[in-house]
């Protein structure tokens, strides 16, 4: 390790450093989340990690659809039936103890899988299913999550990524012939890593920087300390230096930043930490007490190092993270379609170990005709057993009562804002509160100026919805067509998860911005009507609340075209709007 590291890290060096550090102590670092536009790019990085790991380290892929008994271990049904005695198989987690698990398509992993993985990262052990499986077994693993999602809507669950030290974004392949370190460097580093120490002053600086960049999680800082120690170990040192902290800032803190520090930062910093007044720790004889200026200098170095890895689109003092995108119910591939709960509507062939519920009667019924054909099995104490084979298993098909996703499309254009913006907001708030107690999901789209914007993808987090609404500014044109399109997209997504949809428009329907963003009433109205009829094709409940001072013809026509219930509210308040919409909702009484 030399000047390559001291200067701000380029993308290649970051990727290689992360791979090397991870290879020193995969379990200690928890793992990595790797975001790459193409699978082969992520694979090239994985190949590098593989080449650096201690030989013989178990590496396994973990498909996100893995059933519990394969992941955690459990009864091997096929073998059990074939042999007539219980055969327990170990789960993937236990089999990969001491190694690395690769999780492709991590952004689509279900909450259930994420919960199991975070628990195994925390406790480093796994409990197989069933009483016969015995004690929990050790499962010390690192997880490399490959995130192929595009855009901000698809991200690996924060609960998992918070527990993984490295967050990498790769845009190019890395060549596997990593050149920064020799195998000897790694060997030495592995041995000395636990003994590397870091001064309190440097910890303080890492904490300060993390606060300035809006990183709340203390796990992040903890990982930063670890990475700094790892970098020092790679350089063959026993104490952490400033350049190690730079590495830590770039690799750990940068990608986690949620905001940029407030500008006049030199003065706005929290007071510099008190110089360590206690008798110097044994380890710090080399750091003579750093002056505030020196600390400031280190901070600047770290901030500089972070530039390369900051997420795109950070704003100064932006609010902290909103609700998780694609949260519990919104993610495709979630349990909903599988129907693990709800009302039974029949049975189907399947493996009850995958989480389905066995329908015993149907299973026996399926096995019955074959009893004479199948070779007899003598079980425990010489009893003759019913011969059941995995093919016979019938599991219950369950239908979950569908939820409702309410999408509010609020006209925030100049014309609407003049009239009823306040009432509209009030009504939406009331509806939100109600949707909340019914556990409906609520999304919010606002349109003004040239475009419609999804302020809030469907969520159950009322606080987030309310914030989005309060921050809604008014004024500008009326891009109605674009708003209807956005609403339709959200509705399609919600349908995919099995939810009913209710789309509520609050607008005066005075469209004057065409779909392509250009002004002009005739084109804008034509576009809006086209979008409206597309929405009608989708079906579902739609309500259009006319917010213009007197019922407008355009709004009525729009409602007709989109198949919406038209509610004219020339002179009413939030309560009135609320009552009108509540009446139109499909399950307002639920």
């Amino acid at each position: 390790m030399d000047e390559t590291v001291a200067s701000p890290l380029d993308a290649r060096t970051q990727a290689e450093l992360a791979a090397t550090l991870l290879a020193i102590d995969p379990i200690g670092f928890g793992g990595a989340v790797v975001r790459a536009p193409r699978a082969d790019i992520a694979e090239s990085w994985l190949a590098m990690v593989r080449s650096l790991l201690v030989e013989g380290t178990p590496i396994a892929r973990l498909p996100i659809s893995i059933p519990d008994d394969r992941l955690l271990g459990g009864l091997d049904l096929a073998m059990t039936l074939a042999t007539g005695r219980p055969v327990v198989e170990r789960g993937l987690l236990a089999r990969t103890d001491g190694g690395v698990l690769i999780l492709p398509c991590a952004e689509r992993a279900s909450d259930a899988l994420i919960a199991r993985l975070t628990s195994v990262l925390d406790t480093q052990r796994t409990a197989p299913r069933g009483p016969f499986a015995g004690e929990p077994t050790p499962a010390r693993v690192a997880i490399i999550a490959l995130d192929e999602g595009d855009g901000v809507d698809e991200r690996t669950a924060a609960a998992l990524t918070d527990r993984l030290a490295f967050h990498l974004t790769l845009s190019h392949e890395v060549s596997p012939d990593g050149a920064l370190f020799t195998p000897t460097d790694l060997r030495v580093a592995r041995a000395s890593f636990p003994k590397v120490t870091i001064s309190e002053a440097r910890i303080t600086t890492l904490v300060t920087v993390s606060l300035a960049f809006g990183i709340d999680s203390l796990r992040a800082v903890s990982f930063a300390v670890r990475v700094a120690r790892g970098a020092a170990a790679l350089d063959g040192r026993r104490t952490v230096r400033d350049d190690d902290c730079q590495v830590a800032a770039a690799l750990v803190l940068g990608p986690r930043a949620t905001r940029l520090p407030a500008p006049s930062e030199a003065s706005a910093e929290p007071e510099p930490p008190p110089p360590p007044s206690d008798p110097a720790d044994a380890e710090s004889e080399r750091d003579e007490r750093p002056s505030p200026e020196e600390l400031q200098a280190l901070e600047d170095l770290m901030i500089q190092a972070m530039q390369a890895t900051l997420p795109i689109g950070l704003t100064i003092e932006a609010p902290s993270q909103g609700p998780r995108q694609g949260g519990s119910a919104g993610r495709s591939g979630d349990d909903r379609a599988g129907g693990l709960r709800g009302r039974q509507v029949g049975t189907r062939r399947g493996d009850p170990r995958g989480g389905g519920r066995l329908d015993l009667l149907e299973t026996l019924r399926a096995a019955a005709p074959w009893q004479r054909l199948r070779p007899p099995i003598t079980g425990h104490e010489g009893r003759v057993l019913v011969r059941v084979r995995p093919d016979d298993f019938r599991i219950r098909r369950l239908i979950e009562p569908a939820g409702t996703t309410a999408i509010f499309v609020v006209d925030a254009s100049g014309s609407a804002a003049l009239h009823r913006m306040a009432e509209a907001k009030g009504a939406v708030e009331l509806l939100l509160a109600e949707a909340y107690s019914r556990r409906d999901e609520v999304g919010l789209i606002a349109f003004r100026g040239n475009v419609a914007e999804v302020l809030l993808p469907p969520t159950r987090a009322i606080a987030a919805a309310k914030r989005a609404l309060a921050a809604l500014p008014g004024g500008g044109g009326t891009p109605l067509a674009s708003a209807i399109d956005r609403a339709r997209e959200l509705a399609v997504q919600a349908r995919r998860t099995g939810n009913d949809t209710v789309v509520v428009f609050l607008t005066d329907a005075r469209a004057n911005i065409a779909r392509d963003g250009s002004p002009g009433r005739p084109q804008a109205e034509a576009d809006a009507l086209a979008s409206a009829s597309a929405l009608r094709v989708l079906g579902g409940t739609t309500v259009l609340i006319d917010t213009s001072p007197r019922p407008s013809e355009m709004a009525q026509r729009m409602a007709e075209v989109m198949g919406a219930r038209y509610v004219a509210l020339p002179r009413t308040d939030a309560q009135g709007i609320h009552a009108a919409v509540a009446a139109a909702m499909p399950r307002a009484s639920a």
Partner: protein, 343 residues
């Protein structure tokens, strides 16, 4: 397997630590709900409990971890049978169970189900206990409880309240003791719990990441020390943990007999009326919490001061709230406490 981070070494988060310790003193307080952002030591605190709490005495071979000293009515069917047959229940010491209930767990896994292995290989109808059986006399921890299906949360709270798991399915008819403290944690930004469920937690705690520089540095220093030398770190905090354990043990002996003066009862009722909680759950949690706190502190009786300390945890999640109201529930409770108890 990872050596857990010692409970006493957790920096700050006093309200959370207190709530958890008080349920160790008196599990009838009910569940604890911990709301806050990631990386605020929620999981750490819960996972530290087995090492912190006094080990319990467990009947040998009992699948539900029965207490040999408990009255027959509170034993599981197996132990009752053994006792009625005149056998002496032998016991061993075991750490207090802390059982994780992961999201997406099926109802079968939680309440238990037909033991497939025995059904298939021996032709026997047997019951395979679920997570609730393992959590008996200990803690059931649900991370991200706000994302758990409502019907499961409901079920958990029901069982926790009655202390018994009743299973009627697939021809199995079993009931077994399941007395546990439900600890749920979650980040409210990612979805809220249904108000009806909120009310059923005994205590609730809001944790925030501290922005105090010194505290954060201390957290990181301890974490670093623990990472480098887990055994040494645990040894360093063993005495502090032992101290807390002694407090819990002493408090357990006293808590049932600790007097609650009428004046304190009145104040508790006034407090609940002032903040407008529905039903008596709030008052019960307030009183039990205050009594456990008094016992933990070694006080001779419950005082208004104990109420004052415990009121935010016991009441803040029960306020009938306008979900869109910005005034935090905590503020409303503290305001009421100040109004009532200032003089």
């Amino acid at each position: 397997m990872r050596i857990p981070f010692p409970f006493s070494a957790i920096v700050g988060q006093d309200e959370m630590k207190r709530a958890i310790l008080l349920t160790a003193v008196d599990p009838t307080i009910g569940g604890v709900l911990i709301l806050g952002h990631r990386g605020t030591a929620k999981s750490t605190a819960v996972r530290a409990l087995p090492a912190l709490l006094p080990p319990m005495s467990v009947v040998d071979g009992c699948r539900y971890g029965c207490d040999p000293k408990s009255p027959a009515s509170r034993l599981c069917a197996d132990c009752q049978t053994r006792m009625n047959a005149g056998a002496k229940l032998r016991a061993h010491k075991a750490p207090v169970p802390v059982v994780d209930l992961p999201l997406g767990a099926t109802e079968d896994r939680v309440v238990g189900a037909l033991d497939l292995e025995r059904a298939l290989t021996r032709g026997e109808k047997a019951y395979e206990p679920g997570l609730l059986a393992r959590a008996n006399r200990g803690y059931l921890y649900v991370d991200e409880i706000n994302l758990l299906e409502d019907h499961l949360v409901d079920l958990l709270l029901d069982v926790a309240a009655t202390g018994e798991n009743v299973v009627e399915r697939e021809g199995i008819s079993v009931r077994h003791p399941a007395r546990f403290v439900l600890v749920g944690s979650g980040n409210p930004e990612e979805g809220d719990l249904r108000p009806q469920l909120l009310d059923r937690f005994g205590l609730s705690v809001e944790v925030t990441t501290t922005t105090d520089l010194d505290q954060r540095v201390e957290v990181i220093k301890r974490r670093d020390a623990c990472d480098r030398d887990p055994e040494g770190f645990a040894a360093q905090w063993a005495e502090a943990d032992a101290e807390a354990r002694r407090h819990v043990e002493r408090a357990r002996k006293k808590v049932d007999t600790l007097p609650v003066p009428d004046a304190v009862l009145r104040t508790a009722a006034q407090l609940c009326a002032a903040v407008g909680t529905d039903g008596v759950r709030g008052e019960l949690a307030l009183l039990r919490g205050a009594r456990a706190l008094a016992a933990y502190d070694g006080a001779r009786q419950v005082t208004a001061q104990h109420l004052r300390v415990i009121a935010p945890s016991a009441l803040r999640h029960r306020l009938r709230r306008n979900v869109l109201d910005d005034v935090g529930s905590t503020t409303r409770v503290t305001r009421a406490v100040t109004d009532l108890l200032s003089d």
